[in-house]
Structures are given as C-alpha cells and as structure tokens.
C-alpha cells in the first residue's frame, strides 16, 4: 500500500538505471540525508559522536572498500587493515613533510599510495585463488605491521614508535569539535558511497561480479582477469587507505602500528560477513553492528544492575561476534542486507501476505 511502484513509469533507460528508481526510496533517502546533515549535529551528544557516529562512518568506508574486493570481486583478503595503515602513515608523512598540502589532497594521495601497495599485494591473486590467497594477504598484514614498527623514517624517528597529528584544517575550517568532525566524515562517506555505487553499476562492477561468480566464463566473454582483479585490489585499497588516514587523523589523533593489526582486519571481515557481502548497504549495517554491540553490552547489564568489567564485555562481544558469524553463515549467508531486502519485499506486498 505504501511501498508500491504504481504509476512510476520509466521512459528512458537512463531513468531505469538510476541509483534509486523507486520514488519512495528517493524520498526516504533524501529525508535521511537531510536529517544526518542538518539534524544530528544539533541533537547528538559528544559521547554519541565520539563513541558511535565517528568510528561508524570511518569503519563503513573501510568496510565498503573490503566489500568491493571480497563481496563484489570474490577475492578474499584477511589482511586488509594493512592498507589502512599504509594510508594512515602515508597521510602522516605527507602532512608532515609537505605541510602546504590541502588535507583533501593528502587524503587522495594517501589513498593512491595505498592503492599502489594494494595492487602489489594483489598480484598473487593472478595465480592463486580462494583460501590460498587468504594466506597470502596475511603476508601483507604482518609485513606492513613490521615495516611501520621498524622503519623509523615512517614514524619520523619517534622514540615511542607512535605518531600524533594536529587537528585537521580545511580551507580555514578547523575540525575541532565532534560535530564538525562528524560532518566532514559524513560528507566524505556520502561522496565515496556514490562513487562505489557508480563503479558497481558500471561495466567494471559487472566485470568484478563475473570474476566472482565464474571466472572461467568471465574470461570466455573477454574479461581480462588481470585487469579485473588488480583494479579491485586498487580501488579497495584506495578506500581503505583513505579510511585509515581518517581513522588516524580524525578518530585517534595519535596511533601506533598496533592500531591496524590483525584484529582490525578480522573485524573488517566480520563487518561485511554480518552486514552482507556484495552489498554497499551491508557495509553500513556491518559497521553499525560492530560499533554498537560493545556499547550495548556495556550499558544493558548496567541497566539491570549487573556489574561487568570492560574486559568482560569485550570478551563477551567477541563470543557474540563469533557466534553471530556462524549463525549468519548458516541461516542467511548474505547477511543483514538480505534480511533488509526481504523486509522491503514484504513491505511492497503489505498488507497482503503474498
């Protein structure tokens, strides 16, 4: 009744191929964006920004990056936090050594460096598939861990091994307060989501999905596996590099190599498995889940008067993550995004059962 396409006729292919073909979807998205940009900054508390919204936005960006590689192109990577660290350290060094650069330029350049490194570590994917590739990507993780811990130039010869950054300044606008940081990140994420959506809708996205679904058939149609896989690694690492730079500069402020360790890589995988592989919306869901669950685990027992140490809640969170991964893989391998799509299907029929 509410969610019908009645009367919405498309008179050109261009119209049919747009991002949100259904009018109701467009209205909801518009409302959501308006609220996100103009409502939230005034309504949310600092705590909400710092603990939930800001990490959510950054992790969503990284999750989209990983999803492009794993979900859309079918290449497994369990060391992707390595590319986040490349982006973060590249941005740090650029900002340090070329201070005149606009921060947006720093971000893009950091992303490009990460893309290059990503392509390098993506070369094994040309010869090896599936699980073997998973182990190869671990090489990226541990090697980059080591590089940024040992090669002193990257940390500007810091004694402690960690680096710090000043608050970001953009065209005279200093990102000091949480709402300001939030707005900047939101803008970046929206732009990057649109770009990802465009890539996925275009012929490159179809190439990726063809490689994922059946690579021999893809080759027979004329898709070059080298081009498809390396571009997937490059774009995916670009996104993660930018996310890493944002993670370091805006969320953490100062960090050490451990901030981008194997645990983060596994968390990224967790996000896209639970959220939904091969779905941009799924990346949002997965990131939201991983940010919100520990907080829920923190607050809910308190509401019932049960005291739990933060250590216990983080261990509990891990147990729940693990159980959920298995649960979703058994019940709904396409994650929350599929459940959402099923919900929308039901809504289109409502109030009829079928």
């Amino acid at each position: 009744m509410l969610y019908r396409e009645n009367g919405q006729f498309k008179s050109s292919y261009g119209e049919d191929q747009q991002m949100l073909p259904i009018l109701q979807d467009r209205r909801v998205m518009f409302g959501l964006l308006a609220f996100a940009f103009f409502g939230v900054p005034f309504l949310a508390s600092d705590y909400l920004f710092l603990s939930i919204l800001i990490p959510f936005l950054i992790l969503t960006l990284a999750a989209i990056g990983l999803n492009l590689l794993v979900g859309y192109c079918g290449q497994i990577s369990i060391g992707h936090a390595a590319f986040m660290s490349v982006g973060a350290y590249a941005a740090y060094n650029l900002a340090l050594r070329v201070p005149q650069l606009n921060f947006l330029v720093v971000l893009v350049l950091a992303g490009l460096v990460a893309a290059l490194v990503g392509m390098l570590f993506g070369i094994p994917s040309l010869r090896i598939k599936g699980l073997y590739l998973a182990v190869a990507t671990l090489a990226a993780q541990f090697f980059m861990d080591w590089v940024f811990a040992r090669v002193k130039w990257f940390t500007n010869y810091s004694h402690s091994g960690s680096v710090s950054t000043a608050p970001v300044e953009l065209f005279g606008w200093r990102l000091d307060s949480p709402p300001e940081k939030y707005l900047f990140l939101l803008g970046v994420l929206v732009v990057f989501t649109v770009i990802a959506k465009n890539l996925v809708r275009g012929h490159l996205g179809r190439e990726w999905m063809a490689m994922r679904d059946m690579d021999v058939a893809a080759e027979v149609i004329g898709i070059r596996p080298v081009y498809a896989k390396l571009t997937a690694f490059a774009v995916s690492s670009f996104y993660c590099g930018v996310a890493g730079a944002l993670y370091g500069f805006i969320y953490l402020g100062s960090w050490e190599p451990l901030a981008f360790n194997l645990t983060l890589s596994l968390n990224l995988l967790f996000m896209i498995i639970i959220g939904g592989m091969g779905s941009l919306l799924g990346s949002y869901f997965g990131a939201a889940f991983i940010v919100i669950l520990p907080i829920v685990l923190d607050q809910v027992p308190q509401m019932f008067g049960i005291a739990m140490s933060t250590a216990t809640t983080s261990h509990l969170a891990f147990m729940i993550f693990g159980a959920l991964i298995v649960f979703f893989l058994i019940v709904e391998p396409h994650g929350l995004a599929r459940l959402w799509a099923i919900g929308k299907e039901k809504l289109r029929l409502w109030p009829f059962p079928h």
Binding site: S12, Y13, G14, D16, Q17, I195, N198, L199, R201, G202, H203, L204, R206, E207, M209, A210, R212, D213, M214, V216, A217, A218, E219, V220, I221, G222, I223, R224, P225, T231, V235, G278
Partner: protein, 270 residues
C-alpha cells in the same frame, strides 16, 4: 522440426570461405587422450555440427577452439591467423563466443546484467569516468543497454530481465546463456549442447533462435548436439568424433550413410 528449417538450397547460397580451421589438433590430460589429430574446417555463415557418442571429445574440441584448453599438437586458424595457445579472452576479442553445456551463468546477477557482461569488450570508458558516471560513461551504459534490450526482445525474455538468473527455470537460463554470447556480436558462435535437458517446445524455440541468428546476423555457428533430428535438419555440414578421432565429415546425408558413424553409435567394437 522441418517447418523451422529454411530450405537447404536457400542457405547454401550464403555460405562463404573457410573462416575457421582446426589442423591436426591433439589434446591429452595426463594419460587421457581427449583428441587425436583432428582436422576440419568451418565456412563462413554455415551451421556446422559436431556429433559423436559420449566422451568423444566434442566439448574438448570447443574448448580448444576458444582457448580454454591448449592442445599439445596442432593449431587453430581463425581468419587466416594461426594459434595454438590463445587465451579465452583473446579468443573473445577475435570474435569467438560460446555457450556452455553446464550453464556458466553469473548466478549472483540479474538476466540484464548477465547479458550486459557480454557487451564488456565494447565498453571503453575508464575508471574515473565510471566512478563519476559522467558523460561518456553514462552514454555508453545507455547505448549498450539498448543493444542488450534488443537481444532480450529477440529471445523473448523481457518479463525476466530484472530477475536473478539463479531463480529462473533451466530453459530460460539456457536462453540467457545464448543471449550473453550474442551480446558479444561474435563472428563465430560455439554452442555446447544448447538443447540439452529441454522439452519438445523449448527445443523448437531454441532451433528457431539459432537459425534466426544465422540468418539475420550471418553468424557462423559451430554446434554440439545429441538430438539427431535437430542436427540433420539445421546443419549444413557435420563432423563426427569418436574416442577423440574424426570418423566422418560431410553433409548430414553423407554422414548418415557413413558406416563408421553408424558403427560408432551402435557400439560395434573397433
């Protein structure tokens, strides 16, 4: 079946020069000899069938022609150029398209997207333009969408264009497979048992499509098929394989009368 086929004489006029020739090809997997010194040619615009009992090496032959397998011996000559270790995507670039015996569709995508992947070779816009979906990239998407829609009309699958292929019945999936190959606008189309698992009606439809493709677009067709009625009706010439060797080559009538072919099918030991 006969009402579907064009009069043989009308078709014979259009057949041109040799466009594809297989020269002395041998293929082995470890100890298993799939093909032994097979040679034949295919003329432009004709419908060439490859037949033979199970395990004769027919699919392997198609795989060699389009570069999925590389023969240990022998070459493929396409429009005068010789190969023996071409990659599949190179074969595609040179105008060879194929369908698969066990459907190789992209299960995660819709019918429309599957056929659109066939247009991939023709889509040229680079990464940046696609990312911003500006001008040329957008125009390209629309132009190729039109081409794909024409194929969808031709194959009569309009109602299913947005459905995920995994959910379609087998007969419709086979049509999508054909559509994807057609989207490449190939000069040579390799069909691997396009009618396997179909009922009478579906086979008639598929025959009609194949002949229409040959008539309207002039595409050369190399076809593996088990249904003898279909093969005899729609092919111009037939190659017969048995245990990896060629045992017959000629028009359907010639092959039908060939004693070696009859023996092979009846299982006479040799």
């Amino acid at each position: 079946m006969s009402e579907v086929a064009l009069h043989p004489q009308a078709r014979a006029h259009r057949i041109g020069e040799v466009v594809l020739s297989v020269d002395n090809v041998s293929l082995a997997f470890g100890g298993v000899r799939a093909l032994t010194e097979v040679s034949f040619d295919v003329r432009e615009h004709e419908v060439r069938a490859i037949i033979g009992p199970n395990g004769a090496g027919k699919s392997s032959m198609l795989n060699v022609i389009n570069g999925v397998y590389h023969p240990q011996q022998g070459t493929i000559r396409l429009q005068g150029v010789e190969f023996h270790d071409m990659d599949p995507h190179e074969a595609a670039r040179r105008g060879i398209a194929r369908t698969f015996q066990s459907l190789a569709l992209f299960k995660g995508m819709s019918v429309l997207d599957n056929i659109m992947t066939g247009r991939n070779l023709k889509m040229r816009s680079n990464l940046l333009l696609q990312a911003l979906r500006l001008g040329p990239a957008l125009a390209e998407e629309i132009v190729h969408r039109e081409a794909v829609e024409r194929i969808i009309d031709f194959l009569e699958i309009q109602a299913h264009r947005k459905t995920q292929v995994g959910r379609l019945p087998y007969g419709l999936q086979k049509r999508v497979d054909l559509g994807r190959a057609l989207a490449m606008e190939p000069s040579v189309l390799l069909l691997d048992e396009p009618m396997a698992g179909m009922n009478m009606e579906e086979k008639q439809d598929m025959c009609r499509f194949i002949l229409d493709v040959n008539d309207q677009f002039g595409t050369t067709i190399v076809l593996i098929e088990h249904d003898m009625g279909v093969v005899m009706d729609i092919s111009d010439r037939v190659v017969v394989l048995d245990y990896g060797r060629k045992i017959g080559d000629g028009t359907p009538d010639e092959v039908r009368a060939n004693q070696a072919v009859i023996d092979a099918y009846l299982g006479v030991s040799h």
